[in-house]
Amino acid sequence: MAKLTLQEWLHRAENNPHFLENVTALKHIPAQNGSYAPYPDWIHPRLKEVLKGRGIHQIYSHQAHAIDLIRNGKDVVLVTPTASGKTLCYNIPVLQKILEEPETRALYLFPTKALAQDQMHEVHSLIGQIKADIKTYTYDGDTPDDARQAIRKQGHVVVTNPDMLHTGILPHHTKWQKLFANLKFIVVDELHVYRGVFGSHLANVLRRLVRICRFYGQEPVFICCSATVANPKEHAERLLERKVELIAKSGAPTAEKTFIFYNPPIVNRELGIRQSALTPTRNIATELINNNIQTIVFATSRLNVEVLTKYLKDRFKKKSPVSDHFVTGYRGGYLPHLRRNIEKGLRERRIMGVVSTNALELGIDIGALDVCIMAGYPGSIASTWQQAGRAGRRSGSSVAILISRSTPMDQFIVEHPEFFFASSPEHCRISPDNLLILLHHIKSAAFELPFEKGETFGGENLEEILNYLEEKGVLHQVTDRWHWAAESYPADEVSLRTINPENVVVVDITDTGNHKVIAEVDWDSAFTTVHDGAIYMVESRQYHVDKLDLERNKAYVKQVDVDYFTDAMTYTNVRVLDGFDIKKPGKIIVEHGEVQVTRKVVGYKKIKFYTSENVGYGDVTLPEKDMHTTSYWFTMPWDLLDTLKLRREEIIDGLTGLAYTLHHLSAVVLMSDIRDIDRCIGDKSGEWFVRHGNDKRMITSSPLSGQSDAQVMVDAYDPTVFIFDAYPGGIGFSELLFVQHDELLRAARDLIKACPCEHGCPMCVGPALEVGPSAKQAAYAILKLIEK
């Protein structure tokens, strides 16, 4: 059979009624002409020559604008789509300045090592062509010790990541004297990645960086680049704590792209169950790869990456004796050399299909692919555009297909394409003054330079925190200065990416004499992915976890071949510690404040491949994890709820359903990742909470309450719905939800009312099997009751 080109495939799809049945949007985004500007006259002739040699005879209007502002010492943030030449916006002014004043130094920050490597090669090749004595290096955990000294002294452009800046550079700034004493530019690329916890940390790392620069008498210009988000200027200004100029209008031409929203068919109307997003993903990807159309599939979880990779590998093995690497998985946790091989295979088009987590979303060079399939909404509009941008980066046409899952968020997006195409994508939010985060960085900053009286760092009362740290014995105050007075190295105590820097190493002990490390899992996910009895998958190979050893941070696994995977079950219990604000719309009480969240993994389900049948359960005994964070909640008095004339079980089911809807809608309203927030039903003092067990719901009294009869507790304490920040200390979402309470309830009512299912489904209040048959009606009734 002759292979189809992408154009032919698209043409067929557009005329296939069977396919179109499930398409909720098919949008051709036409190619766009560029808007250009001449090179500024101050540009160094050799630099200009090299760029012209690369076919760049004039620059885009946004590049000209940025270069001009930077030249004049303005801090800028550029918002530009993929492949719009943003790197030149900083490379031109930086290289120009170094050519003029060879002592000039620049620091580039990228969120990952891989991106830093890519960028270093880019700058390196420019320098090579200019034939100038300009040195550029990456500096990260992989940099050999003997190279480090040369990099510190000679590197004009040092490319690194925030983590290395935090632990390796700032605490040793005197070794970097040459760099800091001449630092004129700081480039922060992929700015939109720095939100939530990571962003809150970065804001503090930048506070420290600026503080060190000032010690050496420098006020460098910040050049930031971001994907399209709603509040780039505000976000940059919050991160940098200074005014920045926004450049948002891209002058780059864009290639033609077709965007398809595909909502899998409903297979059970009563239960409102749609076909799994993985099924059409698998079918479409197979068809495309069969036609030699290079395809990238983004899955929403590591587990889905492995499941899909296995499906695709199975399909291609059956069909023809193609190489095992014709299709492959890609995600964090794969060891670096394997990742580099996959990237290379994609650039060389040896690999025709790759299934990835969002690890490939950012600008790692994998060449231009033809089609991008997203198996599930990536969680934010910015991510969706970035992932779609992986197909057809340079020219020609490309296709992006978003296949929705049965979650309210996915359904909301595919059923409201106008929201996606018209509205600005989400807001980036950070909370740099989250006390735990701030405290870590104040310690690190004190280690770097003593604090002086009157100095500021963040929005909290610095002197009080310094005194607190002195009380803790890590600082020593004398004559209006606070000195670091402890043996430890504070930057090592905190990871920027998570609150807990610990990792669990996965060790394959299949071969007794030859134990191998096959992956790393961060501490928090270890509880749900490598608990005893879990099936852990890497490169679609299955491993059975024999033992999770939390003391040694190791999980011992053996390779197995089974027809199921595992999914952990957890419970969550919340109790209020402190209310920050309160309002009483109608008869309920809405609050936000600080809470204690206790989570425990209690067991796991075994789920059969392909059929997704539940084929068994297992118990897990792992310690509870405690977290203090911020939450938004509302409490409904029983007196009010009882007017509904429903049984209490039905009310609890209704609240469970309502919480499900609110959790998902909160993510849409906040435009945040669904995993950044979480939910719980219980009462304000944590005396009871709702927990999901083996196919049934139960109400549990708190393990601390000592009251074994949960029913007594339920009657005694009014039910509360909690939607809370999923990070210790909170990152500012709760207050926003508190403010948006009315809008949230209204959206929930609309969603439940409009949903075609009968008794609740994953698209509104959650699957009826999980939330109970009366949940949908009850939730709707409760909403009407409590809405203002």
Binding site: P171, H172, H173, T174, K175, Q177, L435, L436, L439, A446, F447, E448, L449, P450, E460, N461, E464, I465, N467, Y468, G473, H476, V478, T479, R481, H483, W484, A485, A486, E487, S488, Y489, P490, R575, L577, D578, E594, Q596, D626, H628, S702, P703, L704, S705, G706, S708, P728, G729
Partner: protein, 443 residues
């Protein structure tokens, strides 16, 4: 709410929540364990502070010294002398001053040092608030030493608190200006590195940036690894200098003692640190004297361990002085330490081999074989020599056969290599015999 209160709650220090009776045994168990740990560390702390009971003593009454005032402030200064007639381990202080500077230059890898005077050396060692490195580690005590005539003078610069650092560093600059080279123990990686950071932080010129530097750690590791379990200064004192400390403060206690001093101003906790530091500096001087003698002209101090001499010989060879290396090795060929003798013969034979002094090399291999006919190295080298230089295939085959008869003597891959060599030898010897018209079947 105050920031501190919020912090305390986030870090779990204050438990303002209602105390609930836990029904869960495992949680109670955990709590008990935690309590035990807390109790234990509290007791350790008590014991620690118990050693300095009673009224705090001021610095001047414990450590004889004076306050120095300069343009950057004040700090505390001590000066004392180890008289030439006093002893340190098995040596007299007066004997330490006369250093072979050519040897010192060799050790430091610095031709500049070779031309300097022993009295121009500045011995330096710091005591710090930790080993973490980076900008947050503070060298609160800088110990210095130098020779005046035959006496060894030590002086210590002490920052009684952080603000005294600048005055102290300024004074260090002045002393450094009067000296020509540095002697330290691990100073390249640690002390000087740290001081360089402190000079930058205090915006002062770093006086050590171009000063020739003799770091004793590296050479000690090279020379004494064969007989000492580690290269820590106290181990070297014991094993090399014959000096044993009594009541020395353990290094890991030093930071905490300084932090305690900052809080309580009780100088008794510091006394041991000053003494520890002074001894460190004197030991560096003694070590330097010993090392320069060892590496000096090749005449060894009496009672030198033969293994040390062998290590020196190897050092010379690596520095390109194979004549001196050969001379030292020759004396060790029949050393009573069999390991030393064996290694010496091996090393020396390789020097001869490289110089193509085949007969000298062969003589050593023969000695080795006489000691042990199964010495694989000697068998291989001698067989090569017999095959390629002497064309004495029969003897070569004999040597190999001896070792092949005892298969346990060699590892499998070595065994294969020997078989291969022997087959080649047999082929060659066959040809050889045929050439000579001999009819004997080579098999």
């Amino acid at each position: 709410m105050r920031v501190t209160d919020k912090l305390k709650r986030l870090t779990g220090e204050t438990d303002k929540l209602p105390k609930l009776q836990s029904s869960n045994e495992t949680i109670n168990e955990l709590r008990r364990k935690i309590d035990t740990v807390i109790e234990r560390s509290r007791r350790i702390e008590e014991r620690h502070s118990a050693s300095f009971k009673g009224k705090a003593q001021p610095l001047e009454s414990v450590i004889t010294g004076e306050e120095i005032v300069n343009e950057h402030g004040t700090f505390y200064f001590t000066r004392s002398t180890f008289h030439e007639s006093s002893s340190h381990g098995c040596r007299m202080v007066g004997d330490l001053a006369d250093i072979d500077m050519r040897a010192a230059g060799l050790i430091a890898g610095s031709s500049e040092i070779a031309l300097m005077n022993p009295a121009d050396g500045l011995y330096l060692d710091t005591e710090t608030t930790g080993l973490a490195g980076g900008t947050g580690t503070f060298p609160f005590l800088i110990g210095l030493g130098w020779f005046e005539d035959k006496n060894f003078v030590t002086s210590q610069l002490f920052a009684r608190d952080f603000p005294e650092e600048k005055a102290m560093l300024n004074f260090l600059q002045e002393i450094a200006a009067q000296k020509q080279f540095l002697v330290t123990f691990n100073g390249k990686a640690y002390d000087i590195n740290l001081l360089s950071t402190r000079f930058i932080l205090n915006r002062l010129e770093d006086p050590f940036i171009n000063m020739p530097h003799l770091d004793l750690l590296f050479i000690c590791r090279r020379l004494f690894r064969h007989r000492l379990e580690n290269s820590r200064l106290v181990t070297l004192e014991c094993g090399i200098l014959g000096f044993e400390r009594t009541g020395d403060v353990p290094g890991y206690e030093i930071p905490q003692r300084y932090f305690d001093w900052l809080k309580r101003r009780d100088a008794r906790a510091l006394e041991d640190i000053f003494e520890h530091n002074r001894l460190d500096i004197l030991s560096m001087a003694a070590l330097n004297a010993h090392l320069t003698e060892l590496v000096g002209t090749g005449t060894n101090p009496p009672d030198t361990h033969p293994g040390d001499i062998m290590a020196v010989a190897r050092l010379f060879f690596e520095y390109g002085d194979s004549v001196l290396a050969t001379k030292l090795y020759e004396e060790l060929i029949h050393c009573e330490y069999t390991e030393v003798a064996k290694e010496t013969r091996r090393q020396l034979s390789l020097i001869h081999k490289r110089a193509e002094c085949w007969e000298d090399a062969a003589r050593l291999w023969e000695i080795m074989l006489a000691d042990n006919p199964l010495d694989l190295f000697a068998v291989e080298e001698l067989a090569k020599f017999l095959e390629h230089k002497k064309h004495d295939y029969t003897r070569a085959i004999e040597l190999i056969e001896v070792i092949l008869d005892r298969p346990v003597a060699v590892a499998p891959f070595e065994h294969d290599a020997l078989i291969y060599r022997m087959e080649r030898l047999k082929r060659k010897s066959g040809l050889h015999l045929t050439d000579n018209g001999d009819n004997e079947n080579p098999e």
